[in-house]
């Protein structure tokens, strides 16, 4: 049988996280309701979703350029995400780790050059 008591810290952590996040949401709502004017309209009540209407026909067309920029963003965003664990463990991985990351970055730069040359970064 698994000893569940060793998971107590994570349970406490979850409880605290739940309480804190609930407070962060409910407190501003309550304060705003009590202090400010309460005049909701359709625009104010709608969700904010990157400037697009949140609910519409999924078959609507959108500019494929958004997709291109988004995917390039994700690639370089992930690169940054990989850099953090690499940076904090560099004392263990040593020169081998450093050179490996430089090769990885070099490959990404080649991809970047390719995207640039192909005109993927130009909006028009």
């Amino acid at each position: 049988m698994v000893d569940l008591s060793q998971y107590l810290p994570i349970l406490i952590f979850m409880g605290i996280a739940l309480a804190l996040s609930a407070a962060f949401i409910l407190l501003p709502m309550g304060v705003a309701r009590l202090t400010g004017a309460h005049k909701p309209d359709a625009e104010k009540l709608s969700e904010y979703e990157c400037g697009f209407p949140a609910f519409e026909d999924p078959r609507s067309q959108f500019d494929v350029r958004f997709y291109l920029v988004a995917i390039l963003f994700i690639i370089f965003d992930l690169e940054a995400a990989f850099l953090f664990p690499w940076a904090v463990s560099l004392d263990l991985t040593g020169w081998a780790g450093w050179i490996t990351m430089m090769i990885f970055l070099g490959e990404l730069v080649i991809g970047y050059i390719y995207a640039w040359k192909k005109g993927a970064l130009e909006w028009e």
């Binding site: 081998a96 490959e107 080649i110 050059i113 390719y114 040359k117 192909k118």
Partner: protein, 487 residues
């Protein structure tokens, strides 16, 4: 083992990745007009890589000297055998492409680059000694393949094939990853060697689920029943040169990977996966044979034929012996030649306007209008059916022999019976080409490269191929010995 030795072992992979990147930039700067040049450069790179891996196969390399990066990568004779097949298939896919895509005005410099990266991924797959190497290789191959399937961007069927392949491939990768995480969770390691040691005592239920999920993911990649449903659609929709590639190289890589996972990582728990493999083998043979009967499109027919062939290959794995592994490699070599021959012949079926002819009814009476092409296609069909004078028979023979030696007589008997069903539709194609009234649909001249590739594969699968049996058999034995030594 130090880094220098490890780096020397992955030299072909380094060459492939560096030249892929260089050709990518070259293609971007020189434009799509240089596509042919980039393609031929990529073929040259593959040829050099083939020379780099060949010595390991000829010397039967195995053991600790072939292990790089602490067990993550293995450059043994088995990997070399599979890589040579992959490079050959990749080279064929590169050579046939320019003529096809130029006709559609869609030849782009990215095609050879994507093929190179896919080949690199497949090389990693067959060399994997660790679940993570396995996954990285698989994804590198798959991501390139999704783009290749949709390479004719303006063609709806090609786009559909790409999308379908992507969605189902992502699902399969997820299943495989889930199995890998279970295996890691229950064995505490990701190296094949470690998993083997951890499972030598017994198989817990959790680890069993890991094995099954991993096999399900891999079965998708080799298009074995019941995970075959994507194959006909993707093979039909993808541009024919890409289909040639899909039917050959990734099949070799995924089968090689499955062999490594089954015989090495899970090698101590044969009873757990043997039943699964037996089921997949028999189901693939039967579904492949029955599904092909009603097809009217020749690419779909060849897709079902490839499902059928995978079933025969898996019979060798079900035997779980060295002879079985060796038989699988022999079968794979012959299968690659048959597939390249078959799809190149399909590529050469064009009407007067140069448009591809894919309907089976349109090749009626081909023997009278294009006798040489009909002869080659007939040879491929006879060989796929496993009719004795042709080399395809030898592949089936060694596989069934391995099964019988492993006391799986029932399995071999069912396989032989089902291959008779399969013979029906192969012979139907021959009958349509030779005995039906000509419809005179197929015209047009083909590139000499197509003829050359078709001739090479036709000679290989002709009775002349039997001259190679001893040589091929001894190489396959060396490779199989290396696979089991690692285990």
């Amino acid at each position: 083992m130090d880094f220098t030795a490890s780096l020397a072992l992955i030299a072909p992979e380094i060459l492939l990745s560096v030249s892929g990147l260089v050709l990518l930039l070259a293609g971007a700067w020189m434009g799509d007009g240089a596509s042919r040049l980039v393609s031929y450069a990529a073929v040259a790179v593959l040829a050099v890589c083939a020379f780099m891996v060949a010595p390991a196969l000829c010397s039967g390399a195995m053991g600790p000297d072939t292990v790089a990066f602490g067990g993550q990568f293995r450059a043994d004779a088995f990997a070399s055998f599979a890589k040579l097949l992959i490079y050959a298939a990749g080279g064929a896919a590169l050579l046939v492409a320019p003529a096809f895509f130029e006709r559609h005005g869609a030849m782009r410099a990215e095609y050879p680059v994507l093929v190179l990266f896919a080949v690199l991924g497949m090389g990693l797959m067959v060399s994997a000694g660790d679940l993570l190497t396995l996954y990285i290789g698989l994804e590198l191959n798959s991501l390139s393949a999704y783009v290749l399937a949709a390479f004719l961007r303006t063609d709806e069927r090609s786009a559909e094939a790409g999308l379908k392949y992507f969605v189902l491939g992502a699902l399969a990768s997820g299943i495989l990853l889930f199995g890998m995480s279970l295996t890691y969770g229950f064995t505490g390691t990701t190296t094949f060697e470690g998993i083997r040691t951890a499972l030598s005592g017994g198989l817990s239920t959790g680890a069993l689920f890991g094995v099954i999920f991993m096999l399900a993911g891999l079965a998708f990649k080799i298009a074995a029943v019941p995970f075959h449903m994507w194959t006909p659609d993707v093979y039909e929709g993808a541009p024919t040169p890409v289909t040639t590639f899909f039917a050959t190289a990734p099949k070799v890589a995924a089968v090689g990977l499955t062999m490594r996972v089954a015989m090495d990582a899970f090698g101590k728990q044969e009873s757990a996966w043997q039943q699964v493999i037996i089921f997949a083998a028999l189901a693939s043979i039967v579904v492949g044979a029955l599904g092909a009967i009603g097809q009217v499109n020749i690419k779909r027919l060849l897709a079902y034929s490839s499902i059928n062939n995978v079933g025969f290959i898996l019979i060798g794995l079900a035997a779980a012996t060295q002879a079985g592994a060796s038989a699988m490699l022999v079968y794979l070599s012959i299968y690659v030649a048959m597939s390249v021959g078959g799809f190149v012949a399909v590529l050469m079926l064009k009407d007067a306007d140069g448009e591809a002819v894919e309907a089976i009814a349109d090749i009626a009476g081909l023997s009278r209008t294009q006798p040489l092409l009909a002869l080659c296609l007939a040879a491929v069909m006879f060989s796929l059916a496993g009719i004795p004078p042709l080399f395809g028979f030898w592949g089936k023979f060694v596989v069934f022999q391995a099964a019988v030696q492993a006391d799986m007589i029932a399995l071999a008997a069912i396989g032989i019976a089902a291959s008779v069903i399969g013979a029906f539709y192969y012979l139907k194609i021959v009958k349509i080409m030779y005995f039906d009234e000509p419809v005179n649909k197929v015209h047009g001249k083909s590139d000499w490269i197509h003829w050359a590739l078709l001739a090479v594969s036709a000679i290989f699968i002709s009775p002349l191929g039997y001259l190679l049996t001893r040589w091929l058999g001894s190489l396959a034995d060396k490779a199989a010995a290396a696979l089991l030594f690692a285990a």
